[in-house]
């Protein structure tokens, strides 16, 4: 083995964090068996959650977790974008604004006044926004948290210059392939699976729970039709609003559907 020349050196990977819980980055550390393979295939250049060593940019691949919530975030993501050949956002915060996008439905000043002793010290934006609202994003990986197998797939696809296999159809497709009995049909349990992006391998229905929508809207989400059926199952507007207003509250299709139930009187 000779030392690798610059041309054949491993791609430099950086992992960045914005407003988020760290859960998605931890999915990478959670790869256990595959972690050595990852370390063998890329040079981990910046990943504070895993190592203090810092290699300067530019970076071949940046994974970005978290949403944009402050003016400082806006500047920082622009700098990161400039240093990244490929930028992939991971998780509901980075792709839809996360649970913290609940602030988008209220006045942020009211919230800072309620939470902080000296709200004047708080410099924040009115909304929690996905990364793609501020910079160009090469690929968005959904999930709250992301699925580690999908993360490995995305990294592998990047390394080999191919498209990642991360289907955008409904959770129902995974649910049926898995052979789970539909909880909505057989137990009349409200399930967001039909309007939710696949990726979790239909985890909740396999444990007799309705889907919570962790992966955000699927490719062609017919949220209104699903809501109409949920009503037949006895779900009222306030619960409907909350169902669509969780980790992916800021995703367009879910945001609109939650708003449709906000002031609806039925």
């Amino acid at each position: 083995m000779t030392t690798k020349t610059n041309a054949e050196r491993n791609p430099k990977l950086a992992v960045w964090k914005f407003a988020s819980c760290d859960g998605c980055q931890l999915s990478l550390l959670d790869c256990e068996d595959e972690l050595l393979a990852v370390a063998g295939a890329v040079e981990i250049a910046y990943f504070p959650e895993a190592t203090r060593a810092v290699v300067r940019g530019p970076y071949d691949l940046s994974l970005v977790e978290g949403s944009i919530t402050t003016p400082h975030d806006v500047e920082r993501i622009k700098r990161i974008r400039k240093q990244s050949k490929t930028l992939i956002t991971i998780g509901a915060c980075a792709t839809a604004g996360g649970i913290q996008a609940l602030r988008n439905f209220t006045e942020v000043d009211d919230l800072t006044a309620a939470v902080y002793a000296t709200p004047a010290y708080i410099d924040t934006l009115a909304k929690s926004m996905p990364i793609a609202d501020h910079v160009f994003v090469d690929f968005e990986l959904r999930g709250c948290p992301i699925n580690k197998d999908q993360l490995l797939e995305v990294i592998s696809a990047f390394l080999h210059g191919r498209k990642p296999n991360t289907p955008t159809y409904s959770v129902c497709m995974e649910c049926k392939r898995r052979g789970t009995v539909c909880v909505m049909v057989a137990a009349h349990t409200p399930c967001l699976g039909p309007v939710t992006h696949a990726g979790c391998d239909a985890l909740c229905p396999a444990y007799n729970r309705g889907c919570f929508g962790c992966f955000g809207p699927m490719e062609t989400p017919n949220t209104a039709a699903l809501s109409a059926w949920w009503r037949r199952l006895g779900v009222a507007d306030p619960q409907l609003m909350r169902a669509f207003r969780s980790f992916n509250a800021g995703a367009e299709a879910f945001r609109k559907e939650s708003e449709a139930h906000e002031h609806a009187d039925h």
């Binding site: 955008t168 789970t180 039709a225």
Partner: protein, 377 residues
């Protein structure tokens, strides 16, 4: 019903399972799991849904305790035998990179010899359709072929139709006519619980001969025939098939398609539960190092965007186009393609559509729409 029928007493039913197991078959049949009667591996008759039935309607399924201890008192499971003959996810091959070249290893396809217990008439017709799709013509599907070649079929005549059944309209049931090794009709009267058995193949005869059985009397045969005849009167749904193909072709621009698209979630459930929908997608994956690649085949659906993706975008980008494609293929162009309808009237797409979209209702509305019909194709 065949005049040569036999009787297997209820208390001897377990011998049937044992005889099949002794012959090296994995016995797959109905069992209660996750609030439904599903097809899965069963060991003995205690695994069967003794005394259970089901109530099915659009978008709704419920288990129901029956008055008698019938083994086959339910109607249809959430998913069909397709799962076992045409599996939802299979690895086709793996490639390993070594020394600047690569070698391909075909996937080891371990196929258990399966005996299907409780196959209904519509399901036999569905298997016959899959046989045409996968085994006829120049391109035979080896995955299906290997599984199908080793299948032993114990069919059951339906003693009960569900709210979403319409096999009578499709002339695929409820009476079993062909495609089985053994066919049973479960008879329960005030004194007795027994099965009237018809033999379909030599293999079936061989298994039956290993069980305690006797020739059926004319009364027993009549009792069995009466049960199936009564089931034909219980169909929860119906479909008028005369001119249906022409109606679907002529009404491809009907506003009714917009209406159904407003309700359709494009979730794909209807296609995956359908016993005849056979579409798959092929996916190539690589590992991180690039030393191993593999190709997998998974069930796909005409309701996904990627299904009709060609360079530049999806051809059927509207939900309307996708629902229309599915229903028109199932009930019309399937006939042009394979010589039979793609629908056997099992009703699964109606029961398991999470928002209860009903293919028979849609057909009826198209058939009775106000606009005059154009020239039939």
């Amino acid at each position: 019903m065949d005049e040569h029928a036999f009787v297997l007493e209820r208390q001897h039913f377990r011998h049937l399972l044992a005889a099949l197991q002794e012959r090296g078959y994995q016995t797959i049949g109905p069992t209660v799991r996750e609030g439904a009667i599903v097809y899965d591996v069963i060991e003995s008759d205690t695994d069967l849904p003794v005394g259970w039935g089901d109530i099915q309607d659009e978008g709704s399924y419920q288990l129901m305790q029956r008055a008698e201890a019938a083994l086959f008192g339910y109607t249809l499971s959430p998913q069909s035998w397709k799962r076992f003959l045409h599996p939802p996810d299979v690895r086709l091959w793996q490639a390993h990179r070594t020394d600047g070249t690569f070698s391909i290893t075909p996937a080891a396809d371990e196929i258990p010899r399966c005996a299907f217990i409780g196959v209904r008439a519509c399901e036999l017709h569905a298997i016959a359709i899959l046989d045409r799709v996968f085994l006829d013509g120049a391109f035979v599907d080896p995955i299906y072929q290997r599984r199908r070649a080793h299948t032993f079929i114990v069919a059951v005549n339906c003693g009960q139709a569900s709210g979403t059944c319409f096999c009578a309209s499709m002339q695929t049931g409820p009476a079993v006519d062909s495609g089985f090794d053994l066919a049973l009709t479960e008879v329960i009267d005030a004194e007795r619980h027994y099965f009237v058995v018809n033999v379909g193949t030599e293999g079936g005869a061989e298994v039956l001969n290993a069980l305690p059985h006797r020739e059926a009397s004319a009364e027993e045969i009549a009792a069995a025939a009466q049960i199936v005849a009564a089931t034909a009167e219980q169909m929860g749904r119906s479909l008028e098939t005369a001119n249906l193909k022409a109606t679907l072709y002529n009404r491809s621009e009907d506003p009714l398609w917009d209406e159904v698209a407003e309700r359709c979630l494009t979730c794909g459930n209807c296609t995956l539960v359908c016993p005849t929908c056979f579409c798959t997608t092929v996916t190539d994956v690589t590992d991180l190092s690039g030393a191993v690649a593999e190709r997998r085949r998974q069930w796909d659906s005409c309701f996904t965007m990627e299904f009709s993706y060609i360079h530049g975008g999806s051809v059927r980008y509207t939900p309307k186009a996708r629902y229309r494609q599915w229903m028109t293929h199932k009930l019309a162009s399937w006939i042009d393609q394979f010589g039979v309808s793609g629908c056997v009237g099992c009703g699964r797409c109606i029961t398991w559509c999470p928002v209860g979209i009903d293919i028979t209702d849609m057909a009826r509305r198209l058939q009775t729409a106000d606009q005059p019909l154009g020239e039939a194709r």
